[in-house]
Symmetry: C2
Subunit: 142 residues, 2 copies
């Protein structure tokens, strides 16, 4: 029966509600897709392509909208690497990134694998929203 399939999406639905986002079919399916398969780094286009592959009907505009809303709600994190290259990271815990320039690929670094210390204090009137560390890698013989 239909409930069996719906149950698969319970987590996504709950997460969306908690985030204050109406759990529409598209959002539920996209969030579910994003969370399937562990921590991932996907571009908007990657996600749209993947959605199409599994037979979802979602427009690219909706993918962009959903990704932005997810990011604002803290369900995702966006990592911008170069003009025109940005990834959405399903790992929202504190961590950092390796970026393989040649492969245009991100890899998570657990937060305790790097220590960033002696941070200068946030300037007057501001507070730290996030500390981002990206270690850019190139192939060795370069």
């Amino acid at each position: 029966m239909i409930m069996t399939r719906d149950r698969t999406f319970t987590l996504a639905v709950d997460a969306l509600k908690e985030a204050g986002l109406r759990p529409t079919r598209q959002r539920v399916q996209l969030l579910h897709l994003l969370r399937a398969g562990g921590n991932r780094h996907l571009s908007a286009d990657d996600l749209a392509r993947e959605a199409k592959k599994v037979g979802l009907s979602v427009s690219l505009a909706t993918v962009y909208n959903a990704l932005n809303q997810f990011t604002q709600s803290g369900l995702l994190r966006e990592v911008v690497i170069a003009p025109g290259i940005s990834y959405f990271d399903t790992n929202i815990g504190p961590h950092h990134h390796f970026y393989f320039e040649e492969e245009r690929r991100l890899q998570d670094i657990p937060v305790d694998a790097v220590s960033v210390s002696d941070l200068p204090p946030a300037p007057m009137g501001t507070k730290v929203a996030r500390v981002e560390v990206v270690i850019r890698l190139e192939s060795e013989q370069k």
Copy 2:
């Protein structure tokens, strides 16, 4: 005489030659403009606008090309902040950045003001090209 004015550009010319770039009028003027006024963070558009303001004749395409060439040659550093927002930094020494979200503004942090330690080793076959730390700031009452 003309030589007096040219002398102003000697440094830029030398830097370009050293970088293997032909010191054309546009490149010399742009590099000189970039280096005037200390460390700065300019978008391509900022630079084009500024060039126009001081009466230089450079097309936007050439500004982009020059900035990319300068970056590749190590005369500049590019800092990408968000999709569609990237800055070219005239400070090419090792350092990090504060980013003021609301003001869309970068500020340098001297490298010794932050310590990034216990970096995980670069994965097999790769080497670290650069370690980038961006501290994103938001206004305090937010």
